[in-house]
Amino acid sequence: MSGAFLSLSGLTKRFGGLTAVSDVSFGMAAGDLISIIGPNGAGKTTLFNLVTGQLPATAGRVAFKGQDITNEPPQVRARRGFGRTFQISKTLTALTTLENAMVGAFLHHRDLAAASRRAEEMLELVGLGARAGIKAGNLTLSERRRLEIARALALDCSVLLLDEVMAGLNQTEVADVIALVRRLHREGLTILVIEHNLKVVRAFESRVIVLDFGAMIADGMPEAVLSDPNVVEAYLGRKRT
């Protein structure tokens, strides 16, 4: 699985003396679904921000479709096809659900009518069609997460980055979002997911990368990775003997 599509090489981010992401390298082929897991503070969100350009990298490079995009700001990467959600959801609360999705759709649909239609389609896709006219501030947490996905999809993105979209959702809501992500993956979208919930990662049945203290400690399919002693130690600590 060499990553001609999206590749990270030696990606590092330091905040003063703290190395939040340390020498992370992996590649994604088009259509891959990869989950990034790791304990709190492992650097998952920082890694995400390096990939989408929200933070500048200290060292290393990010390449997309063979082009070096390491120094590009987030808005340029979004134009290239990066869509993302935020861990603390950034819905535009003063706008309606439909208008939120439109903000994404305008990127490739200049016209108001065309953008609103495109936004409507994306809301239907994530199951928010009936909530279109409601102010986004009145949506539930689960709905906001799905709205963020709809906004990213409305960008016509080719890579979707989901930052803990399941956090704080109940069982049914988690099942809904899993089904949505799997469906998008089946339709050919390349997806990078940060996830805390190991059940979710198992459900995806696809490649998992484990971060601990900013470094990659495991990379492989869920069964192998989740039984790796290093991973168990990172999550649960060492067993006392």
């Binding site: 808005q75 979004a78 935020f86 950034k90 535009l92 706008l95 305008f106 009518a113």
Partner: protein
């Protein structure tokens, strides 16, 4: 891939065409108001000022409201428009109608130039920077004798005529200001009901989310600022021809110009299309009546009452007149339908 362009917008989305119809209806009502008072110069003067300040506050609202960049420096763009037009008229005899183009252009150019660095600042820091800009402009206007006439100001000789934008009757001025208001409302509606308007709102609410949606934040802010400043420059030009006298305190006094645009928008409903119009319809006539009725008997009494009204608005009309009306309407609709 063939994309058939859908012509109708989705339900719940107001298009520019629909908004233009609303504006036409509003203009008819305001025109009727002028007709009603056509023989009353005192009221016509109030109406002219009301429409002018409604226009200027609407122009401010593009960047200050939709874009959330709380500028207190719009007096600078106002002054640029006024000085450009007065100078071109006095020295070259150029018709003010033609001067509207350089007035708008220079105001927009100056706005882009000073906003480029200041847009790095957020919230109150941006407001303070623009306020400082206004004060610097005040000093410069006082010292640049050749361009502004310094503290003595510039007087435009009275030569009535349509080409000179100078009229003998107040009625013509009221109509002129209404025409300017029509232009401003249409430009605002176009900005609000288009990609630019949504991008400005996205930038206002959350710049990180805006960037993630591919929005070039600085460019969107500069575009909004340029549109806003261009209209403000035209307003300054018209104001100069109405007063036929301009000096630094009339154009650049912070409380009477720069802050007033923002204040009117805040009282009417900041970030809402018709907020500034509603604010101007309340505040400007009130100010005139208070000054005429109370200012003579109790010195400063008019300002006192105005101050109390502003405090009450801040306490009870947090979303402004239009915002509160919309909220009450929504609540009523939910209860009775």
């Amino acid at each position: 891939m063939a994309v058939s362009a859908p012509r109708r917008a989705a339900e719940g989305i107001t298009t520019f065409a629909a908004e233009a119809l609303r504006i036409a209806a509003i203009l008819v009502v305001l025109l009727a108001l002028i007709w009603l008072y056509r023989r009353d110069p005192f009221t016509l003067n109030i109406l002219a000022y009301t429409f002018l300040f409604a226009s200027l506050a609407s122009a401010w609202n593009i960047i200050g409201g939709f874009g959330g960049q709380f500028s207190l420096g719009h007096g600078v763009f106002f002054a640029i428009g006024a000085y450009v037009t007065a100078n071109l008229y006095i020295h070259l005899g150029l018709s003010p109608w033609i001067s509207l183009i350089p007035a708008a252009g220079l105001a927009a150019g100056a706005a882009v130039l000073v906003s480029w660095p200041t847009f790095r600042l957020k919230g109150p820091f941006f407001a303070i920077a623009t306020m400082a800009l206004n004060e610097v402009a005040f000093v410069l206007a006082n010292y640049s004798d050749t361009l502004t006439g310094g503290p003595r100001g510039l007087s435009v000789p009275f030569k009535a005529g349509l080409a000179n934008m100078i009229f003998a009757s107040r009625l013509s001025y009221a109509l002129l200001m209404l025409g300017f208001l029509a232009v401003c409302l249409l430009v605002c509606a176009y900005a609000y009901r288009s990609r630019l308007g949504y991008y400005l709102q996205a930038v206002q609410i959350d710049e990180d989310a805006a960037r993630a949606a591919g929005i070039r934040v600085l460019r969107v802010k500069l575009t909004g600022m340029a549109m806003s400043a261009a209209l403000t420059g035209i307003g300054g030009a018209i104001f100069a021809m109405y007063l036929r006298f301009v000096d630094p305190p009339t154009l650049l006094s912070l409380p009477d110009v720069g802050v007033k645009f923002a204040l009117i928008a805040l009282i009417g409903g900041v970030g809402m299309l018709y907020g500034p119009l509603a604010g101007a319809l309340l505040i400007v006539p009130l100010e005139f009546q208070l000054r005429a009725g109370l200012g003579a008997s109790v010195p400063g009494g008019n300002l006192l009452v105005l101050g109390v009204i502003l405090v009450l608005c801040a306490l009870f009309l947090k979303r402004g007149i239009v915002g509160t009306a919309v909220m009450l309407w929504d609540r009523a609709r939910r209860r009775f339908w």
